[in-house]
Each structure stands twice: as C-alpha cells, then as structure tokens.
C-alpha cells in the first residue's frame, strides 16, 4: 500500500492564463479517503489557491461533481483506493463553462430546470379544510426514483448531446419534469408537454444512455426521457386521429 498518491488537478486562473493547465500534488494515501478529502488536504496544506465546490460530504447536496480519470463522479463518494497506483486526474465537469479551476457555472441548467416547471401544478387547490392530498405507496412508487435527483450535473457532463447541442434541456431537467408528471397529485402534464416535446426537449435525446450509468442516485434519466417519448408520441397520434383531440 503506497504512502502517497499523485493527484493531477485542472487549474484555470482566468486572470493569469487563457486556457486550463494541469497541476500535480502529492497527497497522503489513506484507505478511508475520498477524492474530496484529498482535494481538501491540498487546499488546507499545499495550495490554498485551488478552487472547488463542495458542501455536505455525504452524497446529498450534489455540489462536488467532477470528472475523475475521465468519468463524472461525486468526489465525496469516490475513494482514492479505487484508483491506485495513480496518478488520479481530477477535472471540472464537461460542457459547462469553467469559472475557475474545478468550479463550473450552472446557470444554463437552472434556466432549463425552471422551464419544465418542477413543482406540483393544480387546476384548483382544494381548501385546507378538506385535508391533505393522499397517495398510496404504489402511487409514490411510480415517481419516487425520479425524485431522488440531487442536481449534481453528472448526467449533463456524461451526455455528448448536451455538449453538441447546448440548447438541449438535458437529462436531469426531463427526469424531474417526469417526476411531477407521474405524481398523482399533479395536473400540469399538459403545460410541461409544450416544452418537453419541442425540438430542444426529449427529441434531442438519441439514447446514448450514459446519463443513467453515471447517476449516483440511480434516477435513470435516460429511462425517463424514453418513457416520455412514448407518452408524447401517443399524445401526438391521439391529437391527429381523435376528432376532439386529446381533451
């Protein structure tokens, strides 16, 4: 077992350089250390200027997504011991603009997420006196998987379509739209259909399937998109064939 391991990290200091470079740090190897621990070791002891984003250290906040040896990973859940003997390459997530070092800008995702209206839409709210909206365990089960998304952006970084067509609203946003579409309390499916079945919605997806593979929460965005393609296509056929449309 080695006593240290080399960590090769992307550096981008916009005030000094016009494109990213790599810098290698020798960090202690510990069996129980994840990549994020190693990065924090660098920040605290070797080079305070290294910038990266993190918060919870337990796979809930979705802040510490980076590419480790080329694969998008949550660095708080990726152990050094799986990459021995190293060097381990840590890069910012693909397809997002790099602000500094390992920090990327997520404005584009925030806009896409808002577009798909990821909240419960009711035609009419029932009065408080009628009590809460009840659901059976089976009803919860239909959307629960999609509700596990932590917006970590690993799926965007794994999606070559998002890289090639930045207007694509992307895997997580669609999975979250589907999370509300399938919720028995929601009545907003028709509103979401407009944005989801447009060119920049589901039809941009060519089913590469990598989003599902990298998802740390097993959300299966690729599945959500394909299932929605089926829904949208059925809707289109019904609108075409039935005299009253889909009302």
């Amino acid at each position: 077992m080695p006593s240290t391991v080399a960590l090769t990290v992307t550096r981008y200091r916009p005030e000094e350089e016009s494109e990213p470079t790599f810098q290698t740090y020798e960090v202690p190897f510990r069996k129980d250390w994840v990549i994020l621990d190693a990065l924090n070791h660098v920040k605290d002891n070797l080079d305070g200027s290294l910038s990266f984003r993190w918060s919870c250290r337990m796979g809930v906040c979705g802040s510490c997504g980076m590419k480790v040896n080329g694969t998008p990973k949550l660095t708080c859940a990726t152990f050094l011991s799986d990459y021995l003997p190293g060097p381990i390459r840590v890069e910012p997530l693909d397809y997002f603009p790099v602000v500094r070092d390992l920090v990327v800008d997520l404005t584009d995702f925030m806009r896409n997420l808002k577009q798909v209206k990821p909240w419960i839409i009711r035609n009419e709210e029932k009065p408080l006196s009628e009590g809460e909206y009840l659901q059976t365990p089976d009803q919860v089960d239909t959307y629960k998987q999609f509700s596990m998304c932590i917006n970590c952006m690993l799926c965007y970084s794994a999606c070559p379509i998002y890289g090639l067509e930045p207007s694509f609203i992307g895997p997580a946003a669609i999975a979250l739209a589907q999370r509300y579409n399938m919720d028995s309390r929601d009545q907003g499916a028709a509103e979401r259909l407009k944005i989801l079945s447009e060119h920049d919605g589901i039809w941009q997806c060519t089913f590469v399937g990598e989003c599902t593979k990298v998802c740390p929460k097993h959300v299966d965005p690729a599945g959500a998109i394909q299932q929605y393609k089926l829904t949208a296509a059925t809707h289109w056929v019904k609108a075409l064939l039935l005299p009253g449309g889909t009302r």
């Binding site: 981008y12 916009p14 005030e15 016009s18 494109e19 990213p20 080329g70 693909d94 397809y95 997002f96 603009p97 790099v98 602000v99 800008d105 059976t136 089976d138 089960d141 239909t142 070559p160 890289g163 090639l164 060519t206 089913f207 590469v208 399937g209 990598e210 599902t212 593979k213 299966d220 690729a222 599945g223 394909q226 299932q227 393609k229 089926l230």
Partner: protein, 139 residues
C-alpha cells in the same frame, strides 16, 4: 479534444471547451452508441435488397435466377455477412433497451426488466421459427 476556447457571452473569462468531432472514440459506450446508430444503414440495406428481390420476381423466372446468382457472388456474400452482424447488433442492443422505454405495471407493481426483455426475445424466436417453418416445410 480541441482546446480552442469558445468564450461565453458576457463572461469572456469563463472557459468553455468545444466538443471534438472524435468525442465518440473517448469511451467504449460512446463508440457502441455510434455503432448502434450506424446499424440503421444496414437495416436499410436489407430493405433495399428485399425490394430488389421483389422486382426480380415480378420480371419472371429468368431475372429471378440472375438475382439469385448475384446474391451468391463472394463480394455480395461478404457484404451480406457484415450487414447481418450489424443488424444482429441492432436487434440485440435495442431489445436490451426496451425496458427503459416500456414501463408496464401490473397491479401497481412494475414488471421486472428481464421479463420485458425476455418477451421481446421470445417474440423474435417465435416469429423467426414461423418464417423458417414456412420456408423449409417443402424441402
């Protein structure tokens, strides 16, 4: 990957990397995906051969014999083998992906993926068996 920077509007110092045209060689699943997309060409190839066969059949026994002779040339056999392998890849990869798009619920519970895939393969076997039966029964 190209390192030519493509700066973001209003944020000239944010660095955005362009996607290389060779992105699909970066990892094995991207390559498998592009190959799967490519299989559509070979599916179309079999459709064209089939139309060609129908035309030969309509033109009479002589034209049909000529068509069959052409199919047996080594060049065509080689092309046919490659096309067959691609179509096989097409069928298998898409069958394996069906449970992603098809979520069937029976009494509120989701039917497991392997059942959906299995039913696809079973339908494939039954249909192929039927075709083989029709073709081979007079032999």
């Amino acid at each position: 990957m190209s390192t030519e920077p493509h700066y973001t509007l209003y944020h000239p110092r944010w660095y955005r990397r362009r996607v290389s045209v060779w992105w699909w060689l970066q990892n094995r699943s991207y390559t498998a995906f592009v190959l799967r997309e490519l299989t559509s060409v070979f599916v179309a190839f079999f459709a064209v051969v089939y139309l060609w066969q129908l035309r030969a059949l309509a033109q009479g026994p002589e034209a049909y014999a000529q068509f069959l002779a052409r199919l047996k040339t080594p060049r065509f056999l080689a092309l046919d083998t490659v096309a067959f392998l691609f179509v096989l890849f097409h069928a298998i990869t898409w069958f394996n992906l069906t449970p992603k798009a098809m979520v069937v619920r029976l009494r509120g519970k989701r039917v497991p993926d392997w059942v959906i895939v299995g039913l696809n393969y079973a339908a494939w076997l039954v249909l192929s068996g039927g075709v083989a039966f029709v073709l081979l029964r007079d032999r």
